[in-house]
Symmetry: C3
Subunit: 364 residues, 3 copies
């Protein structure tokens, strides 16, 4: 089934998108409407940027001044915000503003363009590869021998998939992603553009005159419902497996070294680096730019502040920060002390003077 | 206009490049010539590496020893350098050595090879795409539906451009760049190889059993004259816009999260990470590896030292450094104090001893 | 020699790989066998994951509990491990467990699939390019004018190589690597997927109204036996050369700015950033995420702890750590002091009280 068409028709860019009445919006977000039930909105914007055709939202009293001057047609208001009694605009009061905004975004979200089902005529798919029903293979894609791609996967332009790799149903690989040979990817996995899965782990051994390469013969397993950002590198294991647990979400430019194990439902923010054989439990959250030393374990529910470096095992449910990461409370105490350090030195000098004076007096 | 040729003829690698006489070089850099006006140079090199056919330069007295032994045919000398009275070589004295070197580099710069105007026969351009005059589309490029590409843009091999994206005149996209759908790029924008513009922002909401994706329905606007390095990731906004201001320059491996706003003429050095909704004013300079926390604002002209983490708003024209970033002067004071800390502890112990002795004496 | 086949036949994924008897394994790793010489193993795994068909290994007494319960068919034991006298399993005692494991990995390593020798029919190779014997050019590869590619190089899908670039014998460029024009790469160099070699250095000059680009007319030289990870960026020099010394190994997501010089046999771990004109001697080791300031030199054999920032020249054979990096011993002393800082402040307050009391008494 060769074809030349490229992507799903999503209509011209300037076509009117969906719109919704305030009454239906209130239903959608499970909120209480006050004002013009018939007001129509066709987008969402911040209070300062919204026009009469937009919905907006307020989740903190901090933004009440912006609420007063907003032109938004409808404003979703978090219950705890102290809305002025005489507020003139149309409002929808909700318990959970984040959830409400997510639902509105889902309503307005334009379809993401994907290659059409079928194999683009420029693509290079090995004869022994096995593609599920409705798979879409975009232009300039190469698919290796014995690769299995699950039903309805959408493989964008320029993706390269190595021999013997297995990909589950309903995955999306955005342009120029590289998945090397013998990798296993679960169902509903999304990998954003330019990421590389399954390069060799970084392993060498000094043999007296050069760094001899230690073969990296293991693999990578990415479990179901993982989402991986752009330009992320996940290396194959030295032997055994580098594993990304089900439902884990990884931001851009993250480095995941060989034999790392990431548990389910973790959140790994941009530019994190996980060194070899480090281990994350369930639901771990790593802030942006965090580094984790090799062979270090982080227990379930651990949270690590942005730009911290984790050098030792961290017990479950702890919140740590710093270089190296220590309990958040201790970190804040040390940081406050650090701020006072220059003044402390002055103070010590004064104390020393006083001691000298006391000594001099006692000599009298 | 299909074609099979690949790049502009730029002549064989070993062909003679341009050369220039010392007299003309002096004119080019607005300097004062001393020595052999007819000396010909055909390149530029450092004092230690230059040969008789090279120009070189000296901008600090620190390098005077290298000047004495240089073989450079002509040396551009910054005015404040104390040139020995008896220096035998040909020199050109200038006020601004950086500017002079830039002009010399411009003179010697070989042309950058680009795909030829026209559409490479392997490229996949949607019929509804609109290409300006003289656009060059390289091999294995895919261009989505309703894309508009301005005049004279040069789109290198393997680039993927998503539906409804608009690119201004005279842009260069180097190989394997990915620009996703509905993105807006101004005129004269340069994007180096492997960068990804418009991936989804990193947004999830815990729904009790999994991180549910919050749709990222916004876009990215890159204004005129922006240059973006290699393997840079700029995410689309949750809603509204991630914006890069006119004339801003971004180095390699930088992460720019959803809804970031970068003002005009900023300098963002390699491996910087800007978290969601952070905001940079005009002319902000971020050193290599700097991190900026989400929703934090940096005023116009702020300078942040390399590897710092900015955790709070920074007023305009400040220079900050550290983890978290604090005013440079305070940082240096704290750092000096830090260096003295171990000695301080020893000193305190001594003071405590003296106090004990005083107490003992008083008891007598 | 156009062809349509894609990669070397490496056999079905579920085919039996190589297996080896305990006796032969002992020979392979130069060890002393105890137990069942005929035990056959066909893989290697950790003590906890290994089955009866696997070899495993133990290199520290720390793992003795895992040894007791392992199901591994053969265990390679580092000499200094105190193996229980009554250990029932088959063991091979070796002097150097790392070397032994490397040899076992080499034995079991499956062949890495590469494109077949010849030029894929989709590839775009300039007529003036010169390819050595047995070169393999994969699908969607573009090779510029006058490029020279040495014998037996394997260029994977989607690679783009710019005009006048020269690549030595036996190199491997994995998918979607970009090597820009006029770059020189030695023999046996491996570049993993998505890396970019030879983008413009980051150089601008404020001309009063904008950051004017300073042309980057230099090149990159990558010497023999270098290995470069995924999504690494190595910029071309402003003029002259950015150089990576022979045998140096570079991990993923590393940034190497213009005019950097890296000596032979260095180890550069993931996410390191080297600023412009920084210089590394022979055998330098940089931990993950290290930053080095521009124009800073690190002597031969310098080791820098992960996440450190090097702001000043470092003499040969030193081990440094911290922000900025200082000698390791001093760093540990300061860090210990830092830990005690909050307590110190309390202590100082107490001392001040005591001084006040002494003064009061003396007044009596």
């Amino acid at each position: 089934m060769k074809r030349t068409g490229r992507s799903q028709p999503s209509g011209p860019a300037d076509a009117a998108g969906p719109s919704i009445s305030a009454a239906n919006l209130a239903k959608l977000v499970d909120g209480t409407l006050q004002g013009n039930a018939r007001a129509l909105v066709s987008g969402i914007a911040s209070l300062t940027e919204a026009g009469p055709d937009d919905a907006s939202f307020i989740s903190s009293n901090h933004y009440l001044p912006q609420l007063r001057s907003t032109k938004a047609g409808v404003v979703i208001v978090r219950k705890r915000v102290r809305l002025p009694a005489n507020h003139p605009g149309t409002t929808i009061v909700v318990d959970d503003a984040d959830l409400a905004v997510a639902r509105v975004l889902e309503f307005f979200a334009p379809p993401v363009p994907h290659p059409l089902a079928g194999i683009d005529e420029s693509a290079r798919v090995a004869p022994s590869a096995n593609l599920g029903d409705g798979v879409a293979i975009g232009p300039f894609v190469s698919v290796g021998e014995r690769v299995r791609i699950g039903a309805r996967c959408r493989i964008h332009a320029g993706v390269a998939i190595g021999d013997d790799t297995v990909i589950g149903d309903d995955c999306v690989l955005f342009p120029n992603v590289v998945v090397r040979e013998r990798i296993t990817i679960g169902a509903r996995v999304v990998i954003h553009a330019g990421s590389v899965i399954g390069s060799d782990g970084f392993g060498y051994r000094w043999d007296g005159r050069r760094h001899a390469k230690v073969p990296q013969i293991g693999t990578v397993i990415i479990e179901d419902d993982v989402e991986i950002g752009s330009c992320v590198c996940i290396d194959r294991a030295k032997f055994s497996v580098t594993r990304i647990g089900t439902g884990t979400k990884i931001d851009n430019l993250v480095q995941i070294a060989h034999n790392v194990t990431i548990g389910p439902h973790c959140i790994i923010v941009g530019q994190v680096g996980l060194a070899g054989s480090s281990k994350l439990g369930t639901g771990v959250v790593l802030g942006g730019g965090v580094g984790v030393r090799d062979h270090v374990s982080l227990g379930d529910g651990v949270m690590v502040g942005a730009r911290s470096a984790v050098a030792h095992d961290i017990p479950p449910q702890s919140t740590v920060t710093g270089l190296p990461a220590i309990p958040q409370r201790q970190f804040l105490r040390e940081q406050a002390a650090q701020r006072r350090l220059p003044e402390l030195i002055v103070q010590m000098r004064a104390m020393q003077d006083e001691i000298e004076k006391l000594k001099a007096r006692l000599k009298d």
